[in-house]
Symmetry: C2
Subunit: 375 residues, 2 copies
C-alpha cells in the first residue's frame, strides 16, 4: 500500500521521523545518566513501543490498566500505571501481578494508601507503590513538603511497599521560553528528589525517583537524584510541542491523510473529509501565540503549506483555509480529490480517534499498525 | 450488572430518557407530516438505531461509509451518506449497492457530479444522488439560487440520477432564542424547497427534499414542501443542546460514570478518572452563556449537582470543582471512591471515545451495547 491507495481519513506515521524522535530522547536520557520509561498512552500501539524499547527504554508507563493488560500480553512486564489507583481497580491490578507483571501503582493520599494496604493484606499481596508528588500545582499529588508524606508511605504497610516517588510537571505545556522550561524541569526534579529525601530520612528506602513530561525531559540540564524520566508525546510530537519550542514541524511524525471533497470558492474554503472525528476536538494551540485551528495543512509529501490550516471542523468535515486572509484560488490550488496531510495539535488526542495507523516507510510503502482504545 | 459494578470511566445510556427523546422527535415529525431519517453518527450502535426505527423512522443517515456497511450488515437498506462523495470512495459505495443497499450519496459541485457520472457509466451503475444545498453558510453545499444548480443535476446523467436535495442548517447550534431557531428552521426549509422547485422547473423530478438538524427539527413550525427531516444528537441530547434551549438536563440520556481518585483540598478539587479521553476534548459550551467545562457533574442517580463541573481535564484525569468559588469541603463531599456521573457537552464526541455503552434500565440493571468507530 501507498498513501494514494489508503481510504481517507487515515492516521499516518512517518516512521523515519518517529525513529529520530525516539533516538533523540533516548540519547538525551543516556547523556543525563537516567533510565527512560516511555509513556505509551500516546500511541497505544505495539510496534511503536517495541521501537522505544529497542532503542534502550527500560519499562513503560501506562495511563489505563487496559494498556497494562495489552502490553503485558505482548511480553512487556515492567509497567508503571501512572494514574491514582482507585480501590475498585485493585482486583484488576492484582490479576496482572499474579500473572507475573511487575506492576507499579501510585497513590497521593492516606485514604488511597490505606485502601491499597487493606486489599493487599486481604489478598496476601504486596503492591509496589509510588507516591505521586505535586511539583507544579497543575493536577494530582502531594506537595514535596506535605506533613503527611511519610504517613502515606507508612500506611501502605502490610499490603504494599514504597517503590519511590513520581511526578509529572504537566504545566510545562503552557510554557514556550527555554529559560522557563529549564526552570520548570529543575522545579520538577528538585521537588521530587526532596520528597524522596524526606521519605529516606523517615526510614523508607524510596529507590525510584521518577519525573518527566516531554518538554521538561528535553530541557532538563542535569538530573541529579533522579533515577528515571517518563515522556510520551515526544514519540510523534505535535503542534503544541512545536509552539512550546521543543520540536520543529519537520519532527512531527503523525499526520492525518485527507481528501478534498468540495469548496466554497467565494470564502476561500476547501472542504476535506477530516473533521473533528479524525483530528479530535483538541484545540491545544488556541491559547498559544500561533493558533493552528484543527491542524497545519501539508501536501501529500508532508511539507507544510504555510498559512493553510483546518480553521473549522464538524464531525466529518474540515474547512481548509488561510489562517489570515482569503485564497481566491482555493479550488484551483486544491481541486476536488486532492490528497493532503494535516499535522495535529495534540498527537495523543488525534491518534485516539483511529483504530489503526498506517506506518509510512522511507520508500513510500505503508503497513498497518493496530492501536487499541477504551478502558 | 449495575452501575456499582462497572469499571470506570464508562459511557452510560439512560434508556428511559433515550426512548422519550426518540418518541418526542418521531411524534413531532408525524405531526408535521414528514418522514424522519435519524442520523446514526451520534451513537453508532445498533440497539439505538433499532429503537429509532421501531418508533417509526424511515431509513437512516450516516456520516461514513463504514456506518453504512455496519448498519446494512444488520439489515438496514435505506441509507443516505450525507458527506460530499469523494471519487475514491465510489467503489466502496458501489459494493454496497451491488449487495442490495439503497444507498443515496450527495454532491455539491460539477466536478464531483461528473466524477460520479463517469464512474457510474464505467461500471454500468446508476447512483442515487442528492444535491447538497447551503442554506446557512456554515459549511458545504450550493446556494439555493446557484446558477449551476441544474447543471450539477444534468452532469449526473449516464451514471447517476437526481434523487432530490438535502441541507443541514448546522449554524442552529449557535442560537439560543426560540424566535431565532424558528427563523433558522424556516430558512433551512425555504432554501431547500426553493432549490427543489428550481430543479423541477428545469425538468428534474427531485422527489426528496431532506432538511434538518436537532435544533431546527424541534423548532420548525411547519414544513411544507419538505419530504423528510434528519437529526442525530436529539437521541441523547447534551449540554450544547441544553444551552441552545431544546432540552433540559433531565432529558440528557448519555453520561460518563467516573470514580473519585484524589483531591487537592485547598483548591477545592476532586480528581476523577474521567479526563478528556473519556469526555472528549469537545468544549462546545465554552462559547455559550453557561460554560460547563468538560461536563456537568451529577450524583450516581444522574441528578445534577448544581455548580459542579469538570473544570479541567488531562488524558485520564478530570478536575471536579465549583464553576464559581471554592468548595472547602470537597474531600468530605466526594470521598475517594465516590461514583459520579457527568453529562457531556457533545454526545457525538463523547460517545465516540468508548468501545461500548452500558444501557441502564429503569430497574437499575445494565447491559452492554457495542458501538464501532473508524472509517
Amino acid at each position: 500500500m501507498t498513501l494514494n491507495s489508503i481510504s481517507t481519513p487515515a492516521a499516518i506515521i512517518d516512521t523515519a521521523r518517529m525513529r529520530a524522535n525516539i533516538r533523540r530522547m533516548q540519547e538525551r536520557m543516556n547523556g543525563l545518566g537516567v533510565a527512560f520509561r516511555p509513556h505509551v498512552k500516546t500511541a497505544k500501539s505495539l510496534p511503536v513501543t517495541e521501537a522505544q524499547l529497542a532503542a534502550g527504554a527500560k519499562g513503560i508507563t501506562v495511563s489505563t490498566l487496559k494498556e497494562a493488560e495489552q502490553f503485558f500480553a505482548s511480553g512487556i512486564t515492567d509497567i508503571t500505571y501512572a494514574v491514582g489507583m482507585a480501590a475498585a481497580k485493585l482486583p484488576q491490578a492484582l490479576r496482572l501481578m499474579r500473572q507475573g507483571c511487575e506492576l507499579k501503582i501510585i497513590t497521593d493520599s492516606l485514604e488511597s494508601a490505606r485502601a491499597i494496604a487493606a486489599f493487599g493484606k486481604e489478598n496476601n499481596a504486596d503492591f509496589a507503590v509510588l507516591i505521586e508528588i505535586d511539583t507544579d500545582g497543575h493536577r494530582s499529588g502531594v506537595l514535596p513538603d506535605a506533613p503527611d508524606l511519610a504517613d502515606i508511605a507508612a500506611a501502605l504497610k502490610g499490603g504494599g511497599t514504597l517503590s519511590g516517588v513520581l511526578t509529572h510537571a504537566g504545566s510545562s505545556y503552557d510554557l514556550s521560553e527555554r529559560a522557563a522550561l529549564e526552570a520548570m524541569a529543575e522545579q520538577e526534579r528538585s521537588g521530587c528528589v526532596h520528597a524522596a529525601e524526606r521519605l529516606r530520612a523517615a526510614g523508607f528506602a524510596c529507590p525510584m525517583v521518577s519525573v518527566g513530561s516531554t518538554p521538561t525531559a528535553l530541557c532538563a540540564k542535569a538530573l541529579p537524584g533522579v533515577t528515571e524520566v517518563r515522556a510520551g508525546v515526544y514519540v510523534f510530537f505535535d503542534l503544541v510541542m512545536h509552539n512550546v519550542g521543543v520540536c520543529t514541524k519537520d519532527d512531527i511524525a503523525l499526520s492525518v491523510l485527507t481528501t478534498v471533497i468540495g469548496h466554497q470558492k467565494e470564502k476561500g474554503w476547501a472542504i476535506v473529509d477530516a473533521g473533528w472525528m479524525a483530528m479530535s476536538r483538541d484545540r491545544g494551540t488556541a491559547r498559544h501565540g500561533t493558533d493552528f485551528g484543527y491542524g497545519q495543512v501539508c501536501d501529500l509529501s508532508g511539507a507544510p503549506l504555510p498559512g493553510y490550516i483546518i480553521s473549522s471542523a464538524n464531525q466529518e468535515h474540515g474547512i481548509v483555509s488561510l489562517a489570515q486572509g482569503t485564497d481566491g484560488h482555493i479550488a484551483e490550488r486544491f481541486p476536488v480529490g486532492t490528497l493532503l496531510r494535516v499535522l495535529p495539535n495534540h498527537a495523543c488526542a488525534t491518534g485516539a480517534q483511529f483504530p489503526e495507523y498506517h506506518a509510512l516507510a522511507a520508500d513510500g510503502g505503508t503497513q498497518v499498525w493496530p492501536r487499541f482504545y477504551g478502558w
